[in-house]
């Protein structure tokens, strides 16, 4: 092959350039992975637009509506943050588990169990209604995390002890958790035959910005609640554990190379159980934050699939805790604005398309694609 600029010989037509695909030998620059993810999202939005127009909608109007209805003014930005709050926590839950290559698909069920756990504090009741919020909130957090951790313990134990595939068990536990919570809201704590528990006392509500409207008038009507702060703290804690602690080092080592970890003498079974419990506790905290910060009672429709969106968020954030926060806000916007979009499956479909494009785009991180000028064979 020589580099000749002359035209290819007649009869044997060839393109002047050809695509070369080669494995990457060194790490791409830091700015490159986010750029690839951004490109994947862009492609996903275009593909989503095609499907929306096939289904008889107007994609541009749908997207503009999503942008306006989620970032248009301080009120809706606050609503977006409210939707982002549970997403941050479940996103972190998935990121922790995925970092060890444990496929916890059960954040949805752990979310429901966390909500149930927090509700027991009010509805059993474990604390009297007139107890101080300073007592209520930590107790409910602990109960939510405990229930979520228990729901993570089951698949963790089964995997560690019997090598049972955690993808299936965590998924099955989602369905079981929803039926379990339904039993409580239909049969045990039903208020006047309705499918919901009585309203929680005000002392058991997470404080919202609007509660301080008297001191800061700008906060009036803003529903962002303490859960957002819990989410941010959790992100820092998860980052610290994963990247600055011995346990996090073990988690990352097992995730990257389980064989090396075993030879190094790490207790993999114990880590499987612990990480699943930690992951479940984070998802349980999300459930607690959602019912004490937003819904203020236990009822059925408390999640539009937060647990599943958490999987996408964790992957999109490349399992980085701080990126989880950022991505959660974007997905919060999608869920908030998506409620009014017809047909109703659009947000879910866009989430699916984003994840498909994203996983496909990983190819560009492992391989480099070059356009090479075709020479002419002599």
């Amino acid at each position: 092959m020589t580099e000749l600029a002359s035209a290819p010989p007649a009869g044997k037509r060839r393109l002047p350039y050809k695509v070369m695909i080669e494995p990457r030998l060194k790490e791409p620059p830091r700015w490159y992975p986010p750029l690839v993810s951004f490109g994947a999202i862009l492609v996903a939005l275009i593909l989503g637009g095609v499907v929306i127009s096939l289904a008889g909608g107007d994609p541009i109007r749908s997207y503009l509506h999503i942008a306006r209805a989620s970032f248009g003014n301080s009120g809706v930005i606050s609503d977006t943050l409210v939707k982002a709050t549970p997403l941050i926590l479940v996103g972190l839950a998935c990121a922790v588990a995925f970092r060890m290559r444990l496929w916890n698909i059960g954040a949805e069920g752990q979310f429901f169990m966390g909500a149930l756990g927090a509700s027991t504090v009010v509805l059993v009741p474990l604390l009297p209604a007139e107890a101080s919020p300073w007592l209520f909130i930590p107790t409910m957090m602990a109960a939510g995390m405990l229930f979520g951790a228990f729901w993570g313990f089951i698949p963790g134990f089964l995997k560690a002890r019997f090598n049972v595939n955690e993808i299936i068990t965590t998924l099955m536990l989602n369905y079981i958790a929803v039926a379990f919570v339904n039993f409580f809201i239909f049969a045990v704590w039903s208020e006047g035959g309705f499918q919901m528990s009585p309203m929680f006392p005000r002392t058991a509500w997470l404080p919202r910005l609007t509660d301080y409207a008297r001191q800061v008038p700008f906060f009036g009507g803003l529903t962002t609640h303490l859960g957002m702060l819990l989410g941010l703290i959790a992100a820092v804690v998860v980052w610290f554990i994963l990247y600055r602690s011995r346990w996090g080092y073990e988690i990352r080592l097992i995730g990257d190379n389980p064989k090396a970890a075993r030879y190094a003498g790490l207790n993999i079974s114990r880590n499987i159980v612990l990480v699943m419990m930690f992951s479940g506790a984070l998802a349980g905290l999300a459930g607690m934050s959602e019912i004490t910060g937003v819904v203020h009672r236990l009822q059925g429709a408390i999640s539009p699939g937060y647990g599943f969106t958490g999987i996408i968020i964790a992957w999109l954030a490349k399992l980085n805790p701080f990126a989880v926060v950022l991505v959660s806000v974007l997905f919060g916007a999608l869920i908030l604005a998506g409620r009014e979009i017809q047909p109703s499956g659009v947000p879910k479909m866009i989430q699916g398309i984003i994840l498909v494009c994203l996983i496909a785009s990983d190819f560009f991180l492992r391989y480099q694609v070059r356009l090479v000028r075709q020479g002419v064979e002599v």
Binding site: I167, M172, Q342, G345, A360, F363
Partner: protein
Amino acid sequence: MDPVIILQAGVASGTVLLFATIGELFAERSGVLNLGVEGMMLIGAMSAFSVAVATGNPWLGVLVAMLAAGLISQIHAFIVITLQGDQVVSGLSLTFLAAGISVVLGEGLSKAGTVSLIPTFTIPILSQIPIIGPIFFQSHSVMVYVGYLLIPLSWYYLNMTRPGMHLKAVGEHPAAADTLGINVYRMRYFYVFVGGLLAGLAGATISLAISPGWFSELTTAGQGWIAVGLVIFAQWDPLRAAVGAYAFGALRRLILDIQGPNILLGLANPFFYNPYLGFFLQMLPYAFTIIVLVLGSREAMRKRLGAPAALGLPYIRGERGL
């Protein structure tokens, strides 16, 4: 609470799981884990019902359902075989995507009214056999009989034919299969497609035969995931898959029927007097999936059986693999 009726209905609803499980079994035997079964079934159920409503021809619906699910399975195939993406995440994303698409395109279908369903018939002589006759051969949908044919055929294909051996080789040791001139990539694409076809057939069987209609994501209610679990329980063997599928079908029916009578085994039936206990009955199929997985995994550990050795791993020609 007639056991014959429960088993008969169990065979019918187990047929859905049978198709999905055997489809996934073929894909996994080639080394590709496809967690998109639930989504592909939804695509199948939606497109089968939609086409049957539009054309009045259920068979056309079945055909379109299989092709649609087969086509969408190729997204997963492309990502994991050609782009070497992670099979777990790609399969999950396929379920999200396919579920979303079927909800969007199925908008309004739930109010579409009645359609002509896949016909049922009784096999003349076999149905006269006591107990077995009514359970297996009486007024079943055509799909159920298709299922009966699929079980021995897939077993024979997998264990007795040359392409079946090639399939197993690709899943166990792709590099060795490659040196024998078997095209690993093409085989994997093909068997993921087969998995998609059968998942689409399973979906069509729900919406046009077993529990007709389109109820958005509730149409499948997690049966695709149960199918993925059943493949593990079946240890990648079609005969065991069939036993598991029919057993789960019977369980689903038992849960419906057990709430009917007010006397159960001579005692007051708690599920009749307290209908809220039904929520615990609803958990049973999912709880049983977990139990079955534990049993299957213990057996696999004891007998040192396992998944196809290359399951979940991309094959890269020329790279040192297992």
